[in-house]
Subunit: 448 residues, 3 copies
């Protein structure tokens, strides 16, 4: 395979040059108010907006279908929901914030005592001014989310409860598109769009994907093909794997689930189940050298769609680059995860990190040195390879020379550049020009 | 193989319900005064008492027989021994404490000067009020053990020395019984009974074995067969291995040498030579989660019968659960290792820990998950498997849910539950009900 | 193979008994003034002096020959070089210190302005009273080395510049001899002799080799054959490998590059590329137990001749025992690396350490125990093996007994003594008598 090793120019592209914060914010503002769930009109209309940025095709699967071990549920839509207190005041108004109602609540139109109402109310005792996000996809029930303060102020009396929802058979939709590369080996990028009116743990994912799509489109074609999927969380990845699992097992070289990318400075990387996949090597190679702290989390079989992708029968090389990780910031799955929590600058920075990781994957190959017996006499190279003046006094050469010598010494055809970079602790992407020069001058060749 | 997975009920049994401290103390008081050695009447009469608790059969091997590289020595018996000082006072009276005389002392009845006597006297310079325990099984000699104070007060004059002992060909006896299980795979439990009038480093071992026998008998039949052996230390295990070594190599799944179980709160685990045997995994899985500190000691080829069991040609999976380890408490092999050193409560607690380890071994198997492609939809389980309310905010699920998800994710048929528990750091026995429910509901099956 | 295991007597030899400091100093004083370079008369006359101590044969290769990826350069000789300042004073006089002139400077005899002269001047801004050592073997140029003070004091005017050098085709010479042992497996000892008028980073290497040669000669014949080579650095090892590489790959059991052995107390060990070669095991086994600190440096593909020896196509087991490592002491490659920097006592101590490492390699073999089933009954040994009185109270036996039991327990024929010593943390050479006794008494045999 002959590859176009022009990473050095491609990697110059910056996220801020393809998207402005304002453009991101405009899309955020259009998507935020929609009452999405895993199936239903909200999901579909949100996907339609996102399709302005990423040219998805739609894939529909009917309610009741079995996908892997799961059953596609009915659709849920909600038009209004509220409680009328004994004093006539409206409480938990769906139209004020649609996560006031428990997702997949059954329709209700009745009156009841406070005692009867209470089992249907959800609060956050440790965050008195906020209320939780609650869903019940498979067990039929209804409920409302209140702040603890609202809950504590409830008085005895008759409460009117209205939920104007419908639950009926329909279909699960997801969006998928592939940016074709020079090979059919794929990088899988997956995000989800089923959470209503939350900012970091929802819209940060699809918006980062939109930035990344545009960056990869602008700099393409690449060595890899890039598969973008937007799904409802969990049931969506089960559906995708049911339909494309064997293809993905064969073709996916690396991949990531995009979420929690707009809040916090520190980086978090949750490893793939394999622990040493190309995704893990490339992500850690880049994140380790970024300025903010990095937490590396070993794989655990819970969380988001990595549960499905990394289940033992597929074991795909899927990791997650995040800022604060899901479940580890207090606003997660609460009304406090609103627009004020996220920064569009952070989102751009996160997309840039993902782009750097993609470029690292593009740059990676298994080199084989031309000269294995003895060192090459590099002063005879047609292209100058030493990026510094030889200094006879110091064996602490510049980083570039160190990296060059390490690569040449380990280029026996059994270690990839990412593996060499991990062993010898250097930022692979930073040395893309050097690597291109080593290839051009013939000192290393691709190992077929 | 179909197994009866009823560990959850079996593990409820407590050591205190099968033995009282008083009952243990009564047996201790009967065994303590006897002058035991590796062969002879003392060993045999002690074994006869222990057979009231564990139904041993006797295995006899004559003096002079070669067992592996060793020679079975002659028998030694001692009826009396003492020194008469120049002033007529009796010193080092065997009848006061029989470890006053060096084990395997030849018979003596003579008078001598202090200078002649001194080479036969043994003291503990660092513990002035106590005297050592000394034995010389193969090199013929005689001697007495004195406190340093007694030694320092000796005056010139004529000393009368009397040792009424016999050394003559006889036979080595050990006791052995097997508690039959559903399979002929064995757990080997070995202890020794050759030390006279010492408490922790001797009687704690056989008494803990008696408790454990009764607990296993009460809760049986088990998956494994349990082999109980009481031997003279070292020469006994050499004899056992000479006669049963090939059988043990084929059948022993795990095993332990029981000693030093009555003194101290901390736990010590000395690993088997293999370092990753089932004994090691099960013992560490239980001891790591106990309330007292745990010292883990890598295998070294010295100590007790593990020297023989773990010699390279057998390399049996034999470890040792101890409290303070032999050689690491100052009273070890001295007159200070008497009844006041040990606690029968500690002994019961030690036996309980061993029982928990046995139950952990019984619970262990290599699971294979029914659903490998994607996660199972556990809300459809016929048996409720989630032991907690789903909490949408936190990915730090309860320990039970975490353990369930880890097991399901790693149940590919190549890791045992003990290996999964080690990798994912959970107390296996604590989750026996969960594991039974996972089997009953069909989500995991035994890997044949 | 039957080996003569008489290490215990051989290892008694001390470096000080074969060489005095004065004898070393005399050779130093004869070698130091010579203007050596990688080829030329200086190298050859220095090698002629060194041949008084080590009976080298000469191997010559013409300029222009390709050796591996390298080209043998022309010879350089320099008879005189200086600058005459505008005031008539002589500066940078080659005859005062021959590293005043850049190695391989082309001949010059001309006058020029200060501005024209300056690009040819080299200084050490951070060591104002010293000047650097500079060479340019392949790029034709000329130059002088000045102290920063000299440089700063230069005034405008006309400078006369004279370099009386010749660069012309000739031949590269290296010296090589083999001290024959009982087998043709080899220990490779390599040093270089191409640096003029520097002390630690040059003459310490060949002088240590001379000591080591005499020690090995005196105590021989040995199990291994010892190959001694003195070469010009880098191009010399490339030439040697070009001519003898396949032989060395087949025969070299362990080996070292000798340099930087006269300055500093601490030890530095740079590992071979393999990281677990016999060289690494033996060197670390000895250096770890020496009184001075030890720095262990993982292999990096730069430095001295290990670049060639450890290139992937040869990957020889070559490490370096040093005191302060090249590049890590400030005087390295400067005029400050003169006789005052080194200590002949340190040099003797360094040679002794190398000798100890050789004896450790000689002692090493893969033992197989006679008794594998159970422990041996060592009290029946024809040779007393316990080097201490049995102490029944303590399992912390003396080190000798501990080492004996560990060896017997691990002597299954798959681990060498060096590997056992590494695993169980003991100084192998310290226990040579014990090992000889274990062999004599038959408890361990050589594994063929």
């Amino acid at each position: 395979m002959r590859m176009n090793l022009d990473i050095s120019s491609k990697k110059q592209l910056k996220a801020k040059s393809v998207f402005t914060s304002q453009e991101l914010e405009d899309y955020f503002d259009r998507l935020y108010p929609i009452c999405r769930s895993i199936l239903g009109n909200g999901f579909r209309s949100s996907l339609e907006i996102l399709r302005e940025l990423i040219p998805f095709e739609y894939y529909d699967t009917p309610s009741g279908a079995q996908v892997l071990d799961w059953i596609v549920p009915d659709e849920w839509d909600c038009r209004d929901a509220f409680i009328i207190k004994p004093d006539g005041e409206k409480l938990a108004d769906f139209k004020e914030r649609n996560i006031r109602v428990v997702q997949y609540s059954t329709p209700v139109n009745t009156s009841m005592t406070l005692k009867e109402l209470k089992p249907h109310l959800h609060t956050l005792p440790d965050m008195a001014d906020h209320f939780p996000y609650v869903a019940s996809y498979y067990k039929r029930q209804w409920g409302f989310c209140l702040t603890q303060k609202e809950y504590d102020a409830l008085e005895e009396g008759t409460y009117k409860v209205v939920i104007k929802s419908t639950i009926k058979p329909g279909f699960l939709r997801y969006g998928q598109t592939v940016l074709k590369g020079k090979t059919d080996n794929e990088i899988l990028l997956s995000t989800y769009l089923c959470h209503p009116q939350m900012a970091n743990h929802e819209l940060a994912g699809p918006l980062a994907m939109a930035i990344l799509y545009r960056m990869l489109k602008t700099t393409g074609p690449h060595k890899f093909s890039y598969r973008f999927v937007v799904i409802p969380e969990n049931i969506g990845s089960a559906t995708l794997l049911h339909q494309y699992g064997d293809h993905l097992v064969e073709k996916v070289h690396a991949g990531f689930v995009l979420n929690c990318l707009g809040h916090g400075k520190k980086w978090t990387y949750k490893m793939s189940r394999r622990g040493n996949s190309k995704s893990d090597l490339a992500a850690l190679n880049q994140l380790r050298f970024k300025q903010h702290d990095l937490d590396v989390i070993p794989f655990f079989p819970d969380g988001s769609d990595e549960r499905q992708y990394c289940s033992p029968g597929f074991n795909l090389p899927i990791g997650l680059v995040m800022r604060y990780m899901y479940g580890q910031f207090p606003e997660y799955h609460t009304s406090a995860d609103d627009k004020s929590l996220i920064s569009f600058e952070t989102l751009l920075e996160s997309a840039q990190a993902y782009f750097d990781i993609m470029m690292t994957l593009e740059l990676d190959f298994t080199p084989k040195a031309k000269i294995l017996r003895g060192t090459p006499m590099l002063s005879r190279s047609p292209i100058p390879l030493y990026r510094d003046t030889m200094n006879f006094r110091s064996h602490a050469k510049t980083e570039s020379t160190r990296v060059m010598l390490e690569i040449l010494n380990l280029a026996e055809g059994n270690l990839s550049l990412l593996e060499i970079a991990q062993l010898k602790n250097f930022d692979l992407l930073l040395h893309s020009e050097l690597i291109e020069d080593l290839v051009k001058s013939g000192y290393i060749v691709y190992q077929s």
